[in-house]
Symmetry: none
Subunit: 119 residues, 4 copies
């Protein structure tokens, strides 16, 4: 896996996990990779993975059974989706709109780009 340099690695790992959970590749209550396992797979320092897991645990996305490992929480797939959706609609989109204003880019232009790109 390759990481973008403009974002922290542990957050990109979180995105990787989010996607696995949302797409149900990692179903609810299933044990996920151990810290060392995932660190080895992603060629990353175990501390970094640990940091991701801690964050996800704080968010209630995964839970921990001591001595056994981390598991996907009930409701995680839906929670992730609404969390991301809210963030996108309430935080990211307004920023985009604000920038469009500054650059005098019309919403029509964005529509055009969107449709052209998907061809």
């Amino acid at each position: 896996m390759e990481f973008k340099k403009n974002q922290t690695i542990y957050k990109q790992i979180a995105d990787f996990i989010y996607e696995n959970i949302m797409t149900l590749k990692w179903p609810v209550d299933q044990k996920i990779s151990s810290v060392r396992e995932l660190a080895g797979l992603l060629q990353v320092n175990p501390n970094t993975v640990m940091r991701t897991y801690s964050m996800l645990q704080d968010q209630g996305i995964i839970y921990n059974k001591r001595g056994i490992g981390y598991f996907v929480s009930a409701g995680a797939p839906d929670n992730i989706e609404t969390m991301k959706r809210n963030h996108f609609v309430n935080v990211e989109l307004p920023e985009v709109f604000k920038k469009m204003n500054l650059l005098k880019i019309d919403i029509e232009e964005v529509n055009t780009i969107y449709h052209n790109q998907s061809k």
Copy 2:
């Protein structure tokens, strides 16, 4: 002037200058505030302003006359606008579209939000 904590100060100062140049408050070939002056005005260390000015000089936005000060480069207003425009269209928009895909948000929904918000 107040600074957001999630972005570096010297880049926020750059944005401040970008806007002054784009809106022609600071016309081409006009001397801009000296390092110390702007530092005093923004309540910031002169080194921080110096860092901004160096970056802008590398970008060709401003130029320097030794012992006199910094001046707005010819073509700077247009260059800033195209630079920002390109970044928005080629970098930011694709990321937005990608996220829309993941969250299964249609372009129509974005249009709706856009028009609602502007009311």
Copy 3:
């Protein structure tokens, strides 16, 4: 390491690094000294080394892995050599020739001095 006072320290550090890379003492993809390490070694403030590293990163000579350190870029040895060669041939030599013209010094004389000196 001692520094000449007629040139800035951070550029002299860059020259030091250029040489280590060109002579392959520091091979491609090898981690180079950390900012603090080199600062201690050269008896210089870490900020000064940081400045050098930033410049070299802009030039593509070194790259950064977050939280780990700086590494020599692929192709860096060749790039440094061609960069220096170009500067010498296109900038420095013409100035020398121009001065020879003013002082009415023949190229033959330069040849003589060159061969005498090397004895």
Copy 4:
């Protein structure tokens, strides 16, 4: 007159005067332009010209009659030439040779460039 940005202005003014004296446009014992006059001509701060004149006076190239102005010293044309010649041969050329060594550029190559350029 235009100034290169990689060298100080007052030294470039000195070069301008050196040339006028060496080519005998400004003969020995002739009064040269006043500080203000030259400053106006070159579009430069009078302090900068003053600095040049001070340096030239220290070098014995020009002398001052109080209340009247600056004059070209006897022997100035020859002195400038030998001064420049010595500096070129003893300081600049060795540096060039040293750089040629580092970049493994042969004296033959320099000869070739020299002859090609003059065509």
